[in-house]
Symmetry: none
Subunit: 157 residues, 2 copies
DNA sequence: CTTTCATTGGTCAAAGATGGTCTAACCATC
DNA sequence: GATGGTTAGACCATCTTTGACCAATGAAAG
């Protein structure tokens, strides 16, 4: 298994078992996994971004540490509203994928629904002879349209 | 026997004995057969396409790999395949909607899934400054992509 | 107080590890 | 020998891991 995945799992397990907020020492964690400290930053920046539903805080110096928060929504509508904002007029494939995974993790869509959404904005679906910018803009529209549908469903249930 | 056929057989044997889903390393497999890594891609692209009933996923970089999913040859998928043919390179909104309703009525997708699909190819989702022909072509791609996902869901959950 | 220094974490670029694409040469079949 | 599938190889794209160097913080020393 990839080191990054192991570290990601480790942190996520802590987040589930401990609380919605954990605190860790970068160097200790790096030593635990026998890797370079910057590896921790790599994992955080690729798997614990706001798009993934996390917030990171840190402090340097003696007694410094890294804090990770799982973002909490007061309501489904709030999350969907924020995602709508996040999508904006343009969104790349990876970011869009992260948002969809969040919808799944938070239980707003089923696994099959998440896969359908992914497939609708996949490279194959959007394989057009246009610029990346145009594809990102189109992806934003499609995703927003689907997000609206998710919101509608949520209301009726 | 041709190299390509040998590799094809090897993979198919794995898929039968192991499971409906296997994971392999391109370089390892190439080394095993003493051939160029790109040969693996050749085999995959000529013998493991969706039309052949397979779906390929892959990931680059350290720890990267290729995953192959086998779709069952069911009557349901026969129909999905026909629908795929029906879609072709272009489909108008009305026909697409009709097709999705069919999927729902035949029980291949849930009501929510059908709605998601509709929303992904709705006029809002495809509100672009292009000709109707281009939209129909794009709609076909999106719909085909989602249809493939429906076919896959049928057994690989 | 200010300076210094040990202790943390952050950034960035290079190297490493995979897989993808494209094309020319090869080969088999007709 | 014309055609079309096969194979190898050069070059590309992406993801991971490490390491050198930078920045911030707090405590100890002056």
């Amino acid at each position: 298994m990839r080191l990054s995945d192991a570290i990601e799992q480790f942190i996520k397990t802590m987040l589930v078992e401990e609380a919605q907020e954990i605190e860790l020492k970068r160097n200790e964690l790096a030593e635990y996994f026998g890797c370079a400290p910057s590896q921790i930053n790599y994992v955080l920046s690729t798997r614990f971004t706001p798009d993934h539903g996390y917030i990171i805080e840190s402090r340097r110096g003696g007694g410094g540490c890294i804090r990770i928060f799982r973002m909490e929504q007061s309501s489904a509508n709030q999350l969907l509203y924020m995602m709508n904002q996040r999508i904006g007029e343009s969104i790349d494939e990876h970011s869009a994928g992260h948002l969809i995974v969040q919808l799944l993790e938070r239980g707003y869509v089923t696994k099959d629904e998440a896969r359908l959404m992914q497939s609708a904005i996949s490279p194959q679906a959007l394989s057009l002879p246009v610029t990346t910018e145009m594809k990102d803009a189109l992806r934003a529209k499609i995703l927003r349209s689907m997000l609206l549908e998710v919101a509608r469903k949520d209301k009726n249930s």
